[in-house]
């Protein structure tokens, strides 16, 4: 079975903390994505990566950064967590160059910033 694994299901962090969300996929996919999900707003793309060390800003990159040092791992970093970053975070991966393939999602990380 293909798998995208996010390191935590639930996280509680304090305002101002640096937060790392980790995502690992075992499918050798080139593309990886970080989304944020909030009620009524759907999925909003934060960052994506199409290769090791390559990244592109999505629609809401402010306050976030990413790291992709290895193909299988894509990390989302909240440099200084704020309460408005309380949300559900979803990681996904997808094969590149074959437009018809679906994306595979992790189980999500529900982050609460207090």
């Amino acid at each position: 079975d293909v798998k995208v694994t996010q390191s935590s299901r639930y996280l509680v962090k304090r305002t101002g903390e640096k937060v790392f969300l980790e995502c690992v996929q075992d499918m050798d996919h080139e593309n990886m994505f970080w989304y944020r999900q909030d009620p009524g707003l759907g999925l909003r793309l934060i960052y994506f990566s199409y290769d090791v060390k390559m990244k592109e800003k999505g629609d809401i990159p402010e306050g976030y950064s990413v790291s992709r040092e290895k193909k299988e791992r894509f990390s989302l970093i909240l440099e200084s967590a704020s309460t408005n970053q309380t949300s559900m975070y979803l990681c996904a991966s997808r094969l590149q160059g074959a437009g018809g393939t679906e994306a595979f999602f992790g189980q999500g990380t529900r982050l609460t910033v207090v």
């Binding site: 199409y50 590149q96 160059g97 018809g100 189980q107 999500g108």
Partner: protein, 117 residues
Amino acid sequence: AQSVAQPEDQVNVAEGNPLTVKCTYSVSGNPYLFWYVQYPNRGLQFLLKYITGDNLVKGSYGFEAEFNKSQTSFHLKKPSALVSDSALYFCAVTSPDRGSTLGRLYFGRGTQLTVWP
């Protein structure tokens, strides 16, 4: 620009009745279309996709979707709803034009489906 619209935030249907969850899209070129389902506090699960060929595609759990190019729609359907189908459903689109999208999927805002007994 590529985008997806799901015009209904909520759909309510009685168990045993047919259900439809609507999706319209905007994309340059030919679309690749997807439906995903999300259960509470879980990630998204793939249901079905349209790439090319027959306009009616069949997917998991008895769901199907009809691609209509003239109406730029890709509605999700099921002939007989189950209470266990209650979940959040997302439509997504991408384009084979790899240079413009780099493999990105564009999602709608989601439709909450409730099936009551």
